[in-house]
């Protein structure tokens, strides 16, 4: 049985007259030890999906439907106080900007101890020892002296390590990483990516890694899901997505990505993603798609398996394969 099983998850926000459909019927599975990468432009619903798994989008103005089965439990129906025993303990999250995610007025030691004692029955002293252990584990030198430091006294890479330490404090089964390396310099990014991978090897946690940096995703995940306008439009192994992208959006996204040795004009994706309160009928990518045909504007395509482990939601796939003449990274 998978660690996480999401079925038809939809999340929408009421904003006055409008209703924004941020996540639109997403289904996915995740096994322990597995890393799923989620890529897509800003506004594609990546972060909202992650936050919904963490129970952070629950509010009177939010409508959530679908099922989230985590480790044998259904999360969608949980009361807030029940959810808070899962959140931070069994599922935890690493955010993009450690400076705003950490509390600026408390030393990092306090923040670690707070998380540890929230979920584990440890004395203050034992929790402090555990905090030292965690900081050492994420590769922070002289961890004991760091406990009394405030977030602003640390470098960006170190703050990100502290946030990871807090996230893994209770040995979560599922780690949600929302652009954890985007704000970091490239050498520090490599370190954090390698740290996350190493921690996973040790604990066997499942990871969902959201990023718009395709290189970073490709370097650490097993599977990739491509999101557009709240839907997963393509899903497959890293090799399948990077080497044989089949959805026109995935192809365009990869082609727009600047990589070493690239020459000539870049293939930018024209236009912008649709607004979540004004989703077009049919395929949401059709207005920007160079292969769009009439049927694309009718109904929205469903994910269809085109080969073992490789699903695509595109009408063209159902009729005839897209002429794969686009340059692929």
């Amino acid at each position: 049985m998978p660690l996480l099983q999401v079925e038809h998850l939809s999340v929408s926000f009421k904003q006055g007259q409008h209703e924004s459909q941020a996540v639109n019927g997403i289904s996915l599975d995740l096994e322990p030890h597995q890393t799923l990468g989620v890529i897509g432009e800003s506004g594609s619903g990546k972060s909202v999906m992650l936050k919904s798994l963490m129970g952070l989008t629950r509010s009177p103005k939010t409508r959530i439907s679908g099922k989230i089965n985590f480790d044998g439990r259904e999360l969608t129906g949980l009361e807030e106080n029940e959810f808070s025993s899962v959140r931070g303990k069994e599922i935890s999250m690493v955010f993009q900007d450690a400076m705003t995610a950490l509390d600026p007025v408390f030393p990092v030691g306090d923040q670690l101890v707070e998380t540890i004692r929230r979920h584990q029955h440890l004395s203050k002293k034992d929790a402090l020892e555990k905090a030292v252990e965690l900081l050492a584990k994420v590769g922070i030198a002289s961890p004991r002296s760091r406990l009394d430091q405030y977030p602003h006294q640390m470098s960006g890479g170190m703050r990100q390590r502290v946030m990871i330490a807090i996230a893994i404090a209770c040995q979560p089964k599922l780690l949600l990483a929302d652009e954890p390396t985007t704000a970091l310099d490239v050498t520090i990014q490599a370190q954090v990516l390698s740290l996350i991978k190493e921690l996973q090897k040790e604990s066997g946690m499942g990871i969902i890694f959201v990023s718009h940096d395709i290189g970073a995703v490709a370097s650490i995940v097993d599977e990739i899901a491509v999101m557009y306008a709240g839907r997963i439009v393509e899903r497959g192994s890293v090799q399948q997505i990077i080497h044989q992208p089949s959805h026109p959006y995935t192809q365009a996204l990869l082609a727009a990505n600047v990589t070493l040795g690239m020459k000539g004009r870049l293939r930018a994706i024209q236009g912008q993603p649709p607004r979540p309160d004004r989703l077009p009928y049919g395929c949401a990518f059709a207005p920007r798609c160079q292969f769009a045909v009439d049927s694309c504007n009718g109904m929205s395509p469903k994910l269809t398996t085109i080969e073992q482990g490789h699903d695509v939601a595109c009408w063209l796939m159902e009729e005839e394969p897209v002429s794969a003449n686009m340059q692929v990274v």
Binding site: G139, V186, T187, A190, L195, D213
Partner: protein
């Protein structure tokens, strides 16, 4: 100074006085004796991690801040002695585009006014309407968008406004400080294409600052790598990316995540972080992270020296013709023998060459 250079920077230095966390006064050497030249029609890429002094260098070049030492020559004219009135004249020919497309625009002005304001400041009242509309069209903004306010635009469109604002002065040199870092990859490609087109159309030279090595390679003719306020390597783009020489440049290259590096960097954690700028170390500023640092690196600051074909490197290893290994090679060679985490621990120190 070469005949074709539009900008020549010599020995430029800048220190800032700051207070550390205990309130003690310290001096940060933000930019340290930098020499750089930009040829006419050339794009020079400037790469470095945060805190390496790239943005300070950019601001020194357009004299938004005053340097402590050194000379900036723009079209053969030394900018250092100019009065603010004279400087304003020169500055219309050297414009700057900033990273954050939103905070660099005036939110209370329309797109049109944001662009036209630059002309007004420089005392141009004639034909502003025509000039602004032309340049807005050149950057791909419509007449309707000219009447909108910055908050009504997307990030990519806002950055186009910033570019239009720089171009309306008809500059020779545009300093682009992380112009696409805040944008989505798909939008990034649009803006990079636009910058390439405009360079041809307006006959521009660029200084292109970024921490994204892929983008810098794509955009630049020449690349300069900065570490801790020093230029550590400069070369043509193809030479620098084809055969990076400085160990820091190699580390940067090895850090770019790709599919092919999936299983190769499980030891990257031991590479360390840049040292504290408030506690500068003697000798080479990179030695604390360098895999081949020697006693000479502790004692002596390396200077940029010429190697073949104008490839300049500031590293003692190249004097002794010791070729530094790349980070990944190094990690692989130790992969089976030593546990990475303890590499810099005392117990294993002797095992390291």
């Amino acid at each position: 100074m070469t005949a074709s250079a539009i900008l020549e920077v010599e020995g430029l230095s800048k220190t800032f006085k700051v207070k550390d966390s205990h309130g003690r006064s310290k001096v940060v050497h933000a930019v340290n004796d930098v020499n750089l030249s930009v040829g006419r029609g050339e794009t020079v890429g400037l790469v470095g991690e945060s805190g390496s002094g790239k943005s300070t260098l950019a601001r020194l070049i357009v004299r938004l801040i005053e340097s402590d030492k050194g000379v900036v020559q723009f079209e053969g004219q030394n900018l250092q002695g100019l009065s603010s009135k004279e400087m304003k004249k020169v500055r219309s020919k050297m414009q700057m585009v900033f990273q954050d497309p939103y905070s660099s625009l005036n939110p209370q002005m329309t797109v049109f006014d944001n662009v036209a304001f630059n002309l007004w400041v420089h005392g141009e009242r004639k034909n502003t309407n025509k000039k602004v509309m032309e340049v807005l069209q050149d950057v791909g903004l419509s007449q309707r968008q000219a009447a909108q306010y910055p908050h009504e635009l997307s990030g990519g469109q806002r950055q186009r406004v910033n570019i239009a604002r720089a171009l309306v002065m008809n500059p020779q040199l545009v300093v682009l400080d992380e112009p696409v870092s805040a944008l989505d990859k798909s939008v990034q490609a649009q803006v990079l294409n636009l910058l390439q087109d405009l360079k041809q159309e307006y006959g521009l030279s660029y200084i292109f600052i970024s921490h994204d090595l892929n983008v810098v390679e794509y955009m630049s003719d020449k690349v300069a790598i900065m570490y801790f306020g020093n230029l550590v390597e400069t070369a043509t783009s193809s030479a620098l990316y084809g055969s990076p020489k400085h160990p820091y440049t190699r580390m940067l290259m090895d850090s770019i995540p790709t599919l092919s590096k999936r299983d190769k960097w499980s030891g990257f954690q031991s590479i360390g972080e840049p040292p504290d700028p408030l506690e500068p170390q003697a000798g080479c500023s990179f030695r604390s992270r360098c895999l081949k640092a020697t006693s000479r690196c502790e004692a002596e600051v390396p200077v940029l020296k010429n190697h073949e074909g104008g490839h300049r490197v500031a590293c003692h290893l190249w004097d002794n013709s010791v070729e530094p290994v790349s980070t990944i090679e190094w990690l692989e060679s130790f992969a089976n023998s030593i546990k990475y985490r303890s590499l810099f621990g005392e117990e294993n120190e002797n095992e390291l060459e």
